[in-house]
């Protein structure tokens, strides 16, 4: 197992490099002089030249890439000019908030999605199946930012169950309950789409499994139908559900952008949007590379989970 993890980690290296190349290539698309783009058109020529030198922008592209990469490996993502602080500090702080939000949403969508899919499949064409199918369809069709806004209107403004926005109360203690209170609405809004997708795929994975011979064997043994569904069928269906969870984690992580805007959550997505609007390129670059790298790592975790779940996979 240890060797398998190691192998997966090594195989992630080219992917991580690829990510940096892609991000770098995209940023190289920026029209005109990057330093001017960063400093704005009112910058003095001296400042522009100095920044160009600081950023190594007077060197050829390939050299620039390796300098940038080398710095990042050492944890230096550059300095954000709009915030005037190291990019990595800002990204780490913001990423924490995103992780809380996206992590909660991921747990919600995994648990709810799988449960809904199983119930749906177990009652195929019954009323529960139809109801779930309809709700799921609604869920994957509604833009999460719109849903979030409607949730604010209803649950926060009308019912006053939860705070309207933010991660912490403006006054008062910052304890876990305060956080949970602020977390419920954004995490649910973020989870909806992924829940729908996971429910759909779980349903079809379950239907696929339920027709297999070993299900008949379980029934022939006299195993209770509940056991057949939840123990036998779901266990086998998990093999095809887990990869979907991995993909959906990516959607949740990036979908957090919208939710962070709607709920004014101090996460990395909101930071990116602000950075784009202020043309703080280094911050965008650093944020994207960092989040993408985390996602790659998460996918390794998913693969390892998969290999633990399915003994047939050679580790």
């Amino acid at each position: 197992m240890g060797r398998y993890v190691l192998r997966r980690l090594i195989s992630a290296v080219p992917v991580l490099l690829g990510i940096t190349v892609i991000v770098f290539a995209i940023m190289a698309l920026i029209p005109g002089d990057p330093a001017t783009a960063i400093l704005g058109s009112y910058a003095t020529p001296e400042n522009v030249e100095k920044l160009n030198r600081d950023l190594g922008l007077d060197k050829p592209l390939v050299a620039q890439y390796f300098i940038w990469l080398g710095n990042m490996v050492q944890g230096d993502f550059g300095t954000s000019f709009s915030l005037n602080r190291p990019v990595i500090d800002e990204v780490l702080e913001r990423f924490n908030a995103t992780l809380v939000l996206a992590g909660t949403a991921f747990v919600i969508c995994s648990v709810l999605g799988i449960a809904a899919g199983v119930v749906s499949a177990a009652n195929q064409y019954g009323w529960a199946d139809k109801a779930i199918t309809f709700v799921v369809l609604l869920g994957i069709s509604i833009p999460s930012f719109f849903l979030g806004m409607m949730m604010i209107l209803y649950f926060a403004v009308s019912l006053r169950w939860f705070p309207v926005s933010g991660m912490w109360p403006i006054y008062g203690t910052r304890d876990i309950w305060a956080l949970l209170d602020h977390l419920v609405l954004p995490a649910s809004a973020l989870a909806v789409v992924a829940t729908g997708v996971i429910a759909r795929l779980s349903r079809s994975a379950m239907l696929e499994v339920l027709r297999q011979d070993f299900i008949r064997t379980a029934r022939a043994k006299g195993v209770h139908e509940r056991g057949v569904i939840w123990r036998h069928a779901l266990r086998a269906a998990m093999v095809s559900i887990i990869p979907v969870l991995g993909i959906q984690a990516g959607f949740v992580l990036s979908g957090a952008v919208y939710i962070e805007i709607v709920f004014q959550w101090p996460g990395v997505g909101r930071m990116l949007v602000d950075a784009i609007l202020t043309r703080d390129i280094l911050l965008v670059q650093g944020g994207v590379v960092f989040v993408a790298a985390c996602y790659v790592m998460f996918n390794i975790v998913v693969d390892v989970a998969q290999s633990l779940l399915d003994p047939r996979i050679k580790t």
Partner: protein, 627 residues
């Protein structure tokens, strides 16, 4: 095509989605012709008018602009941008996919590596990076959304192209000296286009959502021009005071995307052949029962008595009569063989006993199954479940498929016991070891922790048998338990079953298509053809003097023990399709003794002592054979 449209129309939800989408598109197309207020004219004296106010059906926004007008113009823009993004992504993706799939080798490798890299990004993040580089704006948002969707198309289309690139007609075109470009354009592209279109129709909803999302973030369409996303984005600051400005564009996005999704699901379902055949149905916990006609009286012939059993498969509007009135019985300690070709209904017959026929499509439509005199057909599920494995246990054909692949065999054994008896951990383990010993598995302690895929076929089948023995059943139904095994292992399993039967007084119903196996194990044998029993009798007697021509033919095919499917297929012709049985004898078309009267009408199963046959011109007359 017509059939496809019909199927689509039959799906009411898809139809509804199609109609809504059509209306929205038409509305968007005619927007410039409608007598609407100018969408971008501000009027600060009429800010935030409520819906249904004078002159503004949907009210006005924070600058006093007419919401209805902005909504329609915004819809137009959103649809156009979403559609354009889908087309761009599909075209680029398809081009990349076709090139990778067609040229293969290094080109393919390199391209697909790149595609994988792109897919390693959390989706929207990549779009954000692109917008960051190009700068905010609707056109740039379009490019970003298209770009992040290219890998999806490239990967799909590549897969299809690889399949096509190795077909004969492509080779032929190559030999004919056509250039690669020409082959791609004339041979590959026409075959790929339908796939592209379908993939596009399923992703266009996403594209609309994503472009709306970027606009919502302020990175897409720039004021004063608005698409649905930016309308929503601008309305956000007035969400609490004037929610209608948010609800109007938000609902519109929801309606559009939902309509597209409904339609897309309908298209997918209509194209899926598995849905048509009902192969995607979930089998219920026990077979459906819809019994017509009277329930036969108990005859007290044996521990298990199957009387006039009828089981059918209802697939759409056709009924396949898999079992058409079969009667069988077996006594304690006795072994009954059921023999026949695949499709003869032998498996369905025995699966019906404990309600294990997959349903849908299976339905038991008549007869009775009596265990110790009590009828099981129509018995509540609870009762059936309690009897499964405890009174009647099954051994199935291919233990590779019939054991759960992800649980250790020890746990599967323990579960079989636990289904009927509450036992502790240690006791369960001890019992499981005992069971493995009983089926002569060496080192049972170590084997407990094996997964099925770590065992040989013969060992797996022993586990299957051990599981059947777990609750000391009275009857074991073995459905071709040795077919998947090689000859020596087969012989071992047979002798194991035989010993178990003698030592435990088990009744065994043994299904096979191999007369050699029947001869070794069974006291009596029933021959099935096209869902009915055509001959029955003590094994020895039948082997010595078969009466039904079909039996005779089956036997002629089996010189020695150790069958394999080959022998049965040596009989010319195929069994008839059971939804369309011919008049008279079902075997007539393949029978070498057939005469005109065979096709006239129903032929009864005639009995004479222990023998029975369903034939007008038997090989050996029944009276003679019965002696």
């Amino acid at each position: 095509m017509i059939g496809f449209l019909k199927l689509l129309a039959r799906n009411r939800l898809a139809l509804a989605g199609g109609i809504v989408l059509f209306l929205v598109v038409v509305l968007a197309l005619v927007t410039p012709l409608l007598p609407l207020a100018e969408p971008n004219v501000t009027n600060t004296s009429a800010r935030f008018l409520r819906p249904f106010s004078d002159g503004a059906l949907m009210g006005t926004d924070h600058l006093g602009r007419d919401l209805l007008s902005r909504l329609l113009w915004g819809t137009r823009l959103s649809l156009a941008v979403g559609f354009a993004a889908a087309v761009v992504a599909a075209t680029l993706g398809a081009a990349i996919g076709i090139i990778a799939g067609f040229y293969g080798g290094r080109t393919d490798n390199l391209i697909m590596r790149g595609v994988d890299m792109l897919m390693a990004f959390p989706y929207i993040l990549l779009a954000l990076a692109i917008v960051a580089a190009l700068g905010p704006g609707l056109f740039n948002a379009l490019i970003a959304v298209a770009a992040v969707n290219v890998p999806f198309f490239a990967r799909n289309i590549r897969g299809i192209t690889v399949g096509i690139a190795h077909k004969e007609f492509v080779d032929a075109a190559r030999l004919a000296g056509l250039s690669n470009t020409k082959i791609i354009l004339t041979e590959i592209l026409p075959n790929v286009v339908p796939v592209i279109v379908i993939a596009m129709s399923t992703t266009i909803g996403w594209m609309i959502l994503e472009t709306a999302g970027l606009s919502f973030l302020g990175l897409g369409s720039q004021p004063p021009q608005a698409d649905l996303g930016s309308m929503l984005g601008e309305a956000r600051s007035a969400l609490i005071t004037n929610p209608h400005t948010s609800v109007v564009p938000g609902l519109m996005i929801l309606i559009i995307v939902m309509a597209i999704n409904l339609l897309g699901d309908g298209v997918r379902d209509a194209l899926d052949p598995r849905l048509k055949s009902g192969a995607l149905s979930r089998p219920m916990a026990s077979t459906m029962v819809r019994r017509q006609g009277p329930v036969p009286e108990p005859e007290g012939k044996g521990l298990l008595e199957v009387q006039e059993l009828q089981t059918q498969f209802h697939v759409r509007d056709r009924n396949y009569r898999a079992v058409g009135g079969v009667s069988l019985h077996v006594k304690p300690g006795e072994c009954l063989g059921i023999i026949g070709e695949s499709g003869s209904g032998k498996s369905v017959t025995v699966l019906s006993v404990m309600g294990l026929v997959a349903s849908p499509p299976g339905v038991i439509t008549g007869g009775a199954v009596r265990y110790d005199g009590a009828d099981l057909i129509g018995a509540p599920y609870r009762k059936l479940r309690e009897m499964r494995g405890r009174n009647v246990a099954y051994i199935f054909q291919d233990p590779q498929a019939t054991l759960h692949p992800l649980y250790r065999v020890g746990d599967q054994l323990k579960e079989a016991i636990r289904a009927h008896h509450g036992i502790g951990r240690d006791e369960g383990r001890a019992r499981a070891i005992e069971l493995l010993k009983a089926v002569r598995i060496p080192n049972p302690e170590q084997r407990l922790t094996d997964f099925p895929h770590e065992m040989s076929g013969g060992m797996r089948q022993r586990v299957g048998i051990a599981m059947a023995l777990a609750n000391d059943p009275d009857i074991i139904i073995a459905d071709e338990p040795t077919t998947a095994l090689d000859v020596t292992v087969q012989a071992q399993i047979l002798s194991l079953l035989d010993d178990l039967r003698r030592s435990r007084g088990l009744a065994i119903v043994f299904i096979t298509h191999d007369f050699g196996v029947v001869g070794q194990l069974c006291d009596r044998v029933a021959v099935m053809y096209a869902g009915r029993i055509v001959e029955e009798g003590p094994t020895q007697a039948v082997l010595e003097a078969p009466t039904h021509p079909y039996t005779a033919r089956l036997m002629a095919c089996v010189p020695e023990l150790g069958g394999g499917k080959r022998r049965l297929e040596a009989i010319p012709g195929l069994p008839p399709v059971v939804d369309n049985l011919p008049m008279g004898c079902a075997f007539a078309d393949r029978c070498d003794r057939v005469q005109a009267d065979c096709r006239k009408g129903e032929i009864v199963l005639e009995r004479q002592g222990a023998r029975a046959v369903r034939c007008l011109h038997p090989v050996t007359p029944l009276t003679e054979a019965a002696e």
